[in-house]
Amino acid sequence: MPDWFIIFLDPNARWILLGCMLLGFSSGIIGSFSYLRKQSLMGDALAHAALPGVCIAFMLSGSKSIGLFLIGAAAAGFIATFGIGYITRHTRIKQDSALAIVLSVFFGLGTVLLTHIQHSGNSNQSGLDKFLFGQAASLVGDDVMVMSVTSLLLAGICTLLYKEFKLLSFDPGFARGLGYPVAFLDQLMMFLMVVVVVVGIQAVGIVLMAALLITPAVSARYWTEKLGVMVVLAGLFGALSGMAGTFISANGSNLPTGPLTVLASTAVFLVSLGFAPGRGLVSKLLIHRTARRRYTQQLASTAGYELERKEKAL
């Protein structure tokens, strides 16, 4: 039996592996839609905005229950998306600044609340700061159960509402014309993203959550022109990254799983960027070179033709 296989024998490691793969899978799926809607950084903002939500949920309840955290983060995420939309619609401030403002102010508030909780001497609070950078190693069976349920739910909703989500990403105006409840679908998609974010920050942390939402989806885009294929591929890339991250982390390197998962997905991205057929750099270079050669040939032949014509005229 190869060495790396040993981690399958440890039940804890199995949970972590499963958890990271499920997380990569579901964030890849939902990330595909947000990439196509040109809202890649929304996941980043939502992840940062989750912090004050989680802190307030803890302050009100005094317990570390993932269900309550989910509600708190969802509420904060809802306020954050509303804030970004409101600022861009009603002032001269553009979307990028609105995102940065909401992201940093929510995160600032979150750190104030978090440090306040830490200094207040509540004995139950320890471990709350694990949300910041995540700690995949602390995942236990219950967490993975929650992850499995949410992943299944998410995949189910995305399959059922596939054509609605597709149209919403491609042409929301037309979707509205068809009588789709666009605002509702919009909120639903945002809510699904919040769910993934809240489940994910336990494992990879607030900052790196954005990577799982963006990088696998972007990588998948390089390989296909079909949305369906892209979504599945993004899910697979995410799961693959989760698996690779866990393996490297578990094999004695003692490095944190979250950043390794992110780097694994970056590696997948680099391969896609370089070698994907049609869109990758290598294949683009080839196309470019052929086009240039054809163009110079064409120029030469027309020049020759002109010359010939002039000679004939003489």
Binding site: L41, S97, A100, I101, V105, H116, L132, P256
Partner: protein, 298 residues
């Protein structure tokens, strides 16, 4: 005395960030600022490992270099056909992940923990002073940020017209012979240097708050670029002073309170700005409607 030093440091951070941040907001590059503030982390760690200390010019330069690499990578990936926000997301998360891994590998060798990355250590700044002979020159951080601020003020002061025109109308700027790319990278270097200098006191994530929130607030208050820069410095300084006392009161993170205060001021400007405030505009619209309705009776 240490209160004063913390507030001074905060005010310097806010001023340095506010000045370069104005251009980030106007060039629609706020998220690039966010990306740089994250991706300097591996640069800082590597500079620690190479130079063995956290207060060298070498480190500032190294981090400025990493900032430029970030911008270049983002542009390269964007040019290969990816949406710009997605390429920002891919690049900065990857570099930040490398940074965290480096921190956790060398955590014993360097005096930098993840909390510092998040909140900065502004509370400890007064005790890390610069000694010149037997003379106490004040906190090192004040000197570092002060230098960064001086650099920004000098460069933006000298090349104000170039920075302004390349931000407003880059095509025209290129046509009259201003090297647009040069000023783009100069600005990015200033953002990187400012970020690194501020990093220790407010932490990676909150730097972006200082870079964007006060300039955006100022943007709602004035229609002149020069005034926008002055206002954002003033707003930044108020935020850091008020934030410090709020943090004392709540017994919470100072940097977090500073950014929260800036956010609070932003909301006030958003609602009540005489030019661009939402409430005032609504009120004006209502008055016009009321006038129009009243007219037939006059």
């Amino acid at each position: 005395m240490s209160d004063l030093w913390i507030i001074v440091t905060g005010a310097l951070v806010a001023s340095a960030c506010g000045i370069v941040g104005c251009f980030l907001v106007l060039r629609k590059m706020a998220m690039i600022g966010d990306a740089i503030s994250h991706s300097v982390l591996p640069g800082i760690v590597i500079a620690f490992l190479v130079s063995g200390s956290r207060d060298s010019l070498f480190m500032l330069l190294g981090a400025a270099g990493i900032g430029l690499v970030t911008v270049l990578l983002i542009q390269l990936i964007h040019q290969s056909g990816l949406q710009s926000d997605a390429s920002i997301g891919v690049v900065f998360t990857a570099l930040f992940a490398i940074g965290i891994i480096l921190v956790s590998v060398y955590t014993r060798d360097i005096d930098l923990d993840l909390d510092c990355v998040l909140y900065g250590e502004i509370a400890y700044i007064p005790w890390n002073t610069l000694q010149l002979g037997s003379l106490d020159m004040g906190p090192k951080a004040v000197w570092g940020i002060g230098l960064a601020l001086l650099l920004s003020v000098a460069l933006i002061g000298i090349f104000y017209k170039q920075f302004k025109l390349t931000s407003f109308d880059p095509t025209f700027a290129a046509a009259v012979g201003i090297p647009v790319a040069l000023f783009h990278y100069l600005l990015m270097s200033l953002v990187s240097v400012t970020t690194v200098a501020s990093f220790e006191s407010v932490g990676a994530i909150l730097v972006v708050g200082m870079l964007v929130v006060p300039p955006a607030t100022a943007y709602l208050l004035t229609d002149r670029l020069g005034r926008m820069m002055i206002y954002s410095v003033v707003i930044g300084c108020i935020s850091s002073a008020a934030g410090y006392y709020a943090a004392q009161f709540l017994d919470a993170s100072i940097a977090g309170s500073m950014v929260s205060t800036a956010g609070f001021l932003f909301v006030i400007a958003l609602l009540f700005s005489p030019r661009h405030g939402v409430l005032l505009r609504k009120w004006k619209q209502r008055r016009i409607l009321a006038d129009a309705a009243a007219e037939p009776f006059v």
